[in-house]
């Protein structure tokens, strides 16, 4: 009986150890990296232009699969991509485009001007607002031949190239033309440098480089993207070497940790995502510009940057635009002035009674500050703001809410015409808003269609006049001058208070791949990071073998064999005793 138990044990050990034989291993073409593991921090569905969820990381990863006519370079300047040549008329109503030859869909069919024309009309039939907004500007498209077309706009738009042609993904007409509901197309078939070969809901994506891509073969042959929703887990995995990079931005407190890690490199650049104090301009006393100014003067934005972001960011500009961005200037970065703030509050008749002030009716100057419960940086910011405003006698109660509930309070139904239910909130706009020349109009125009992001109900006839001038002005310099005027007005009337712009900080394992290109405000997951001519020099390195992981496998198999063997031996002994 004992011999039989030992035999069983040996058999199990052999079986398990034999499973090592024939384990797949990555192969690498010369000068290329065979595989990278890049964690993505959200599930972006089937990753088609009509099913992806977020601007980042969704749209960023989408662009590995789908091309657009132009792309944004490292500094967010438009760069012709699918385009060999283009011409724009003086009224900015006609965009004549010649496509580069040799572009193919991932099913092998050629990309034609027909596909491009289709891409600018089909979204009008769909609910995806980002593409629909672009398609709505198009009057008609005129396809001359396989590679040439003209896009005619309803009204002249000098920003159509930088805003729309860099954004609109070109989709295959033969896949979508008979689909009433584009979300039903589950296959992400594009013409970009990567083909999505596998998607498992909630688990992972696998991309493979498209051979013969017209801008050169991608430097990484296969990208595996496990979906890891928890940011802490992502950075644990990066430290452990289980992943080589991630779409997630590094939290400020981790920067020094990673800087000390020999195997991990950190890249950073100015962030364009704006964190702001959103003010409901329709609620007294914030209906008064002096009150909003008093709050602004009581805030120490540099302290927020130093304490909350540990210095990895820039204080907000009252003109909304990042001073280092395309439209920004550092002239509107405010300085704290408690004396002036107190004077303004005194002037409004809000007098101190003990620690806090009261208004003319004896009501304490006390307000709720809403903040998303899932964002620790914003919660900390809210706490600091409460402390800072206490110094001028304003009582702030920080209320953290589940994110969707917060949205509903501040932006009910995502419709600015609906009644808001808040006074103050820590809010944020993603990086693309900073790149829009008409961002200030969206943030402050009273017309609900134009001011679709006017969450504070700001109203100013002076601003409306500037907005009207901007829309009809076609000259680039004159438009920039109007944007500057709008920023002056923003700094004067304070419809909202930009608090800070958090730096974009990315971490990766350089031994696995070092060709990353940091796109300002966005990150390192972009086409440029993977294509020759854009990727940083010396990027093509084979990932170091994960010896630790091999050791882990061996230990695990040994452990498994031990447990199974022990069970068999114990069972054999018991049987032996029984017999």
């Amino acid at each position: 009986m004992k011999n039989r138990a030992i035999f069983n044990f040996a058999l199990v050990v052999l079986l398990i150890l034999s499973s090592f034989i024939g384990m797949p291993s990555g192969s690498m073409a010369e000068g290329k990296v065979s595989e990278l593991q890049i964690a993505i921090h959200r599930d972006e569905n089937t990753l088609t232009p009509f099913t992806y969820v977020t601007g980042y990381p969704g749209a960023a990863v989408l662009r590995l699969v789908f091309d657009s006519l132009f792309i944004l370079d490292e500094q967010n300047q438009p760069l012709p991509w699918m385009v060999a040549d283009y011409e724009v008329n003086a009224a900015f109503t006609e965009y004549r485009i010649s496509l580069l030859p040799g572009q193919f869909w991932h099913d092998g069919r050629p990309v034609t001007a027909d596909d491009v024309a289709f891409s600018f009309s089909y979204p009008l039939t769909q609910s995806q607002t980002r593409w629909r907004r672009i398609a709505a500007q198009v009057e008609s498209t005129d396809v001359t031949d396989e590679l040439n077309l003209t896009i005619r706009l309803k009204t002249g738009n000098p920003d159509f190239l930088s805003q729309a042609l860099t954004d609109m993904p070109i989709i295959p007409k033969h896949i979508y033309e008979n689909e009433v509901d584009a979300t039903m197309v589950g296959e992400a078939l594009g013409s970009g440098p990567y083909r999505l070969v596998e998607y498992e809901e909630g688990k992972h994506y696998i991309f493979e480089a498209v051979p013969g891509y017209f801008r050169g073969d991608a430097l990484v042959e296969r990208i595996v993207m496990p979906i890891i929703p928890d940011i802490t887990t992502i950075f644990q995995a990066l430290t452990a070497g289980s992943i080589h990079a991630t779409t997630a931005h590094v939290a400020p407190e981790l920067v020094s940790v990673f800087a000390a890690e020999r195997d991990i490199a950190v890249m950073s650049g100015p962030g364009l995502a704006t964190t702001l104090l959103q003010i409901n301009n329709e609620v007294y006393p914030f209906t008064l510009p002096e009150m909003r100014r008093a709050v602004m003067l009581a805030l120490d934005l540099q302290e927020l940057v130093d304490v909350v972001l540990l210095g990895h960011g820039d204080p907000g500009s009252l003109g909304f635009f990042h001073p280092a961005g395309i439209f920004g200037t550092d002239a509107f970065v405010p300085e704290r002035d408690l004396t002036k703030s107190n004077e303004l509050l005194d002037g409004l008749g809000f007098l101190r009674q003990g620690d806090f002030r009261v208004d003319g009716n004896g009501q304490p100057l006390s307000f709720e500050l809403l903040v998303a419960a899932n964002n620790p940086l914003r919660i900390r910011s809210a706490e600091l703001i409460a402390e800072q405003l206490k110094e001028v006698g304003i009582d702030i109660r920080v209320v953290s809410l589940e994110p969707t509930t917060l949205d509903e309070r501040v932006w009910p139904g995502f419709d600015v015409s609906q009644e808001r239910n808040y006074t103050l909130s820590i809010w944020g706009w993603s990086a693309p808003v900073q790149l829009r020349p008409d961002a200030l109009i969206q943030l402050a125009a009273t017309d609900h269609a134009m001011g679709s992001l006017n969450l504070g109900g700001f109203a100013s006839s002076e601003f409306e006049r500037l907005a009207e001038r901007f829309i009809t002005e076609m000259n680039a310099d004159a438009r920039k001058a109007i944007i500057d005027e709008m920023q002056v007005l923003f700094a004067r009337d304070i419809p909202l208070i930009p608090l800070f712009y958090q730096q974009v900080i990315m971490a990766y394992r350089p031994a696995a791949y070092a060709g990353w290109v940091l796109q300002q405000g966005e990150g390192i997951i972009n086409k440029m990071s993977f294509l020759p001519g854009f990727a940083r020099a010396g990027s093509a390195q084979e990932p170091q073998s994960d010896a630790a992981a091999d050791g882990r496998d061996f230990l695990f198999y040994l452990l498994l064999a031990g447990v199974l063997g022990a069970v068999i031996v114990v069972k054999g002994r018991k049987k032996g005793h029984a017999s």
Partner: protein, 326 residues
């Protein structure tokens, strides 16, 4: 005859419970503030015009009065036409089918392990009541149970995955390896270990305490003293007289725990990026994905109800008096 009537009454109670669950599943998501528009219209949802917004809501029947939506929901439920998720843009059946097996694997393994070790340690502690070994166990188990799940998960990752590199940090399996057979099994078990350990360590206390206190209470019962006085062997008293009766509250805790583990493992699933139902439901709540919320909650509720039904049957088997009571 009376037994049949009781069974029928029991079955009717379960049917009523299921109907209540179905209705609550419909009502609860709609009582939450917010709506799923951002997932239906995409990130630039604010650019929708009034007409476009209404057209979109109408397309998904979200503009209809609630009773009409409820009727549609019942119809879809009965015909098994559960439709697509608002946020994930995939058939709900496919999504649930991809998640339920992982949740069951994690939840059932955790329940088996925690109940087994909880019971064994509980018996040991009760038999040594008041001694150092009892106090030591009580302290250790209470200490482990007091950790927040995300913290314990993170500590286990930091130690066993990052420092020692014994186990993977995330996921249910290694992506894109082409493993099959024993390799696949070993890979899945390897990934299961840390989330399972987290859940087990957190749950073990409930079983331990239940078993310990039940045993301590039963040991002082008259019939046990009588059995001892009759000179029955310790083994017989321990297993036949004490353990069997102590199983009743233990099974109650076990069945209640199932509901918690199926839906409440959200944090553990998130920390380990384990693709289970808990995480799915959490994401569905954030997205106000009504259909996905309704049906995922329903699946969990039905599983819990099924196990409760099973527990009822087991009570009758373990304690015949349960079946006799009116």
């Amino acid at each position: 005859m009376q037994v049949n009537w009781k069974r029928r009454r029991g079955t009717a109670q379960y049917l009523i419970l299921i109907l209540v669950v179905i209705t609550v599943n419909f009502a609860l998501p709609r009582m939450l503030p917010g709506n799923p528009l951002v997932f239906l219209a995409g990130e630039d949802v604010g650019l929708l015009s009034y007409a476009e917004r209404n057209e979109l809501l109408s397309r998904y029947n979200l503009d209809r009065p609630l009773p009409v939506q409820y009727v549609h929901y019942l119809r879809d439920l009965v015909t098994l036409q559960w439709g697509d998720s608002f946020s994930k843009r995939e058939p709900i059946w496919d999504i649930l089918w991809g998640r339920v097996p992982w949740t069951l694997l994690l939840a059932l393994s955790s329940i088996v392990l925690s109940s087994f070790f909880g019971a064994v340690l509980g018996v040991r502690a009760a038999m040594n009541r008041g001694r150092w070994s009892d106090i030591r166990l009580l302290l250790i188990v209470s200490f482990l149970g007091s950790f927040p799940s995300f913290w314990l998960g993170m500590v286990l990752i930091a130690v066993f995955a990052v420092q020692l590199n014994w186990f993977p940090v995330f996921g249910a399996y290694t992506v894109g390896t082409g493993y099959f057979g024993l390799q696949k099994l070993a890979d899945v078990l390897q990934h299961l270990t840390l989330p399972l350990l987290t859940l087990t360590l957190l749950s073990i206390g409930r079983y331990f305490l239940t078993m310990r206190y039940s045993l301590i209470e039963l040991m002082g019962e008259d019939y046990i003293i009588l059995a001892k006085a009759k000179g029955l062997p310790e083994r017989v008293i321990k297993y036949k007289y004490v353990m069997r009766n102590a199983l009743l509250p233990f099974i109650t805790v076990l069945m209640m725990d199932l509901g918690f583990v199926l839906s409440g493992a959200t944090v553990v699933e998130t920390v380990f990026a384990y693709p289970g139902l808990g995480r799915l439901m959490f994401e569905a709540v954030l997205a106000r994905d009504y259909p996905l919320l309704q049906y995922s909650f329903l699946v969990v509720a039905l599983i819990v109800i099924a196990f409760n039904y099973l527990a009822d049957r087991m009570y009758a088997y373990l304690d015949p008096r349960v079946g006799e009571e009116g």
